[in-house]
Symmetry: C2
């Protein structure tokens, strides 16, 4: 499977679009904001902080939706406030110019993203900033920028996507579609190796592009335990493979199609992340944090009424299914055909609902702050 | 009318798309290529030519289609050949890195453009170049880049589009939709002033963005005579307003809708172009050329058989109508509603056919090469 061509989020701004079903990612982003601020403060507040006339920033795997505008706005406002404080002046002539690159795979819905930008005040901002925004179509496992030009990189909830499904695992993983309790050790190892290769490539490429002292804040799915068979941090994926298996039993999906389907997703342990960073060597790990977010973190409706618990669980099933559909549909449709998607996610919502009635599940998230070492 | 929201070409890659109906623009581009080559040669062949490690290039008003890839490929290959010759080496380590920005209004079909790029070899090229491509959504009548960073700008068949319809002309221009023989002198003057303002703004903005010695090659519609009433260089637009008038007579279009419709298009004389460049002052005009292209320049089928002339004229009517539709449809649909568009261009094709049976019409095109003066 060529990941580049199917690894995009649902386009547009309709009911099943990523733009309208990315509340979970917003919740994750909000949890990680303090480390973003801390990193920017280290870059721009000290006397020896950056004084570049023009700053080059990138959101890697930005997708298309309001989250992109939110984080870019936040970063620009924070830098401007820090520079104003440092210069002891609110005059915008003292502020740097900004080049902001919005990166995602070429099939990302850039048209929708650019329309959102047009209707936002990101470009002008409160201080009449000079901010130039560009779309950057391409995989972050390839070079994206000229050498020694990038100042700050940000990536939220994208780096757990591998560059490809590890080679040779298809038939070995049977009805599983990712690492699961019943996956063989070989499958687990293939995924882990692919992750090490990919994350190392990622660091090495950003190392070439980034100026010395440049920073990155990276947020991605992680795993809180060593043994993947002891606890299933990817229960939402397991529930999806179970739904597909039900459809195989009812002959709605071909068994060989399920057996040949695996998704390029990997949630590393903290120690794995540290090891790759140290071994690759371009970056210094300034900080690493782990936290948990509820699957339904983006459901802000409070139900005090006990009688509404069933209703709430039902709503959460739909909410989680919509969220998973927004990032999985293109991949599933490419492999199984788009005709199964409605049925699949209808069933999946019910399965999540059953799961929720027994257990409040969470994702484990890792956020790291890195700085480019001297060359 | 806010030009930014409707002044885009027909999206996608279907029958009425700009991507499939931009053969005329390709013909214009081909005529102008020698001046592009000459300009690049002046930049990169001499000992005192550019030696930047990374070159920043832009296609202003790139639209979405194969023409964009063609010209970018051509420019990159030419620069690489010139640099190789200068360095007396074909080793790609001696070549600069490239940042190529593809600019158009935010409603341009960037998704389609990025898909085309993915399937082309522009990025890698024959010499394994380091080329980074970005989408740049925004009007070229606004700032697009940080100060003093741009090396080369190219624009083909875009700069005759004004930033807006000149204010206050709507009711004065009656059934005309642009400058025409029956337009009043006030209308003509309003268009000319808007052009002077817009082109001057364009030069001043590019002047801020471009490094000293940076170059531009600009190709746009022009007018070969002083008096716009003596000869109609915009007969294709007049035929369109006549078609709309026929539809008003048949009550298919409201008279007030036609009377309030004007398009932001202006074809300047050579002297007007020179005057704005001199008055604005940021650029030196290295060369100006004018040439004519046939309306059906993109019809490469040769009919030796005399009997086929009628068939050929019919085909040309359709060809020209498709071409005009590709760049006019969004603007017409926004004003008159999309329901009239099929009928309008069916009738328009017949009108062009009648016109062609009497006369072989041409467009007058101006191409200029400019260099950024010292500051």
């Amino acid at each position: 499977m060529v990941v580049k061509n199917v690894m995009n989020m649902n386009p547009g701004d309709g009911a099943t679009s990523y733009a309208n079903n990315s509340g979970l990612q917003k919740a994750v982003m909000s949890e990680a904001l303090p480390l973003v601020d801390e990193t920017l403060e280290a870059m721009f507040s000290a006397e020896n902080g950056f004084h570049a006339k023009c700053l080059k920033l990138v959101d890697l795997g930005c997708s298309s939706g309001p989250n992109t505008l939110f984080i870019i706005s936040h970063i620009l406002n924070t830098i401007e406030d820090l520079c104003s404080k440092r210069n002891n002046s609110t005059d915008h002539h003292h502020l740097p110019e900004f080049e902001v690159f919005l990166n995602d795979l070429p099939d990302n819905d850039f048209n929708n993203l650019f329309k959102l930008l047009l209707n936002s005040n990101v470009i002008n901002g409160k201080k009449k900033r000079h901010c130039f925004l560009y779309g950057l179509p391409g995989s972050f496992y390839c070079r994206l920028f000229p050498s020694n030009t990038l100042h700050f990189a940000y990536s939220c909830y994208s780096l757990h996507w591998l560059s490809q499904v590890p080679e040779g695992i298809e038939s070995r993983n049977k009805e599983n579609i990712c690492i699961a309790r019943t996956s063989s050790p070989e499958v687990f190892e293939a995924y882990a190796k692919q992750y090490q290769r990919d994350f190392s490539t990622f660091l090495s490429l950003r190392g070439e592009e980034m100026i010395v002292g440049g920073r990155m804040v990276l947020i991605f799915r992680g795993r809180s335990v060593e043994d993947p068979s002891r606890i299933d941090d990817s229960a939402h994926i397991t529930l999806l493979s179970q739904t597909l298996l039900d459809m195989v039993d009812e002959e709605l999906v071909k068994k060989e199609d399920l057996y040949s389907f695996n998704i390029p997703l990997y949630a590393p342990r903290e120690q794995e992340v540290k090891t790759v960073i140290e071994t690759e060597g371009s970056f210094h790990l300034d900080k690493l944090q782990g936290f948990r977010v509820r699957w339904d973190a983006h459901d802000n409706v409070v139900d005090d009424d006990e009688n509404n618990i069933i209703l709430k669980i039902h709503r959460c099933g739909k909410l989680v299914a919509d969220c998973v559909r927004a990032f999985m549909e293109p991949m599933l449709a490419a492999h199984f055909g788009s005709s199964i998607v409605d049925e699949l996610f209808g069933r999946y919502a019910k399965k999540v609902e059953e799961h929720f009635s027994m257990k409040k599940s969470t994702y484990f998230v890792i956020v790291i702050s890195l700085s480019r070492k001297g060359k």
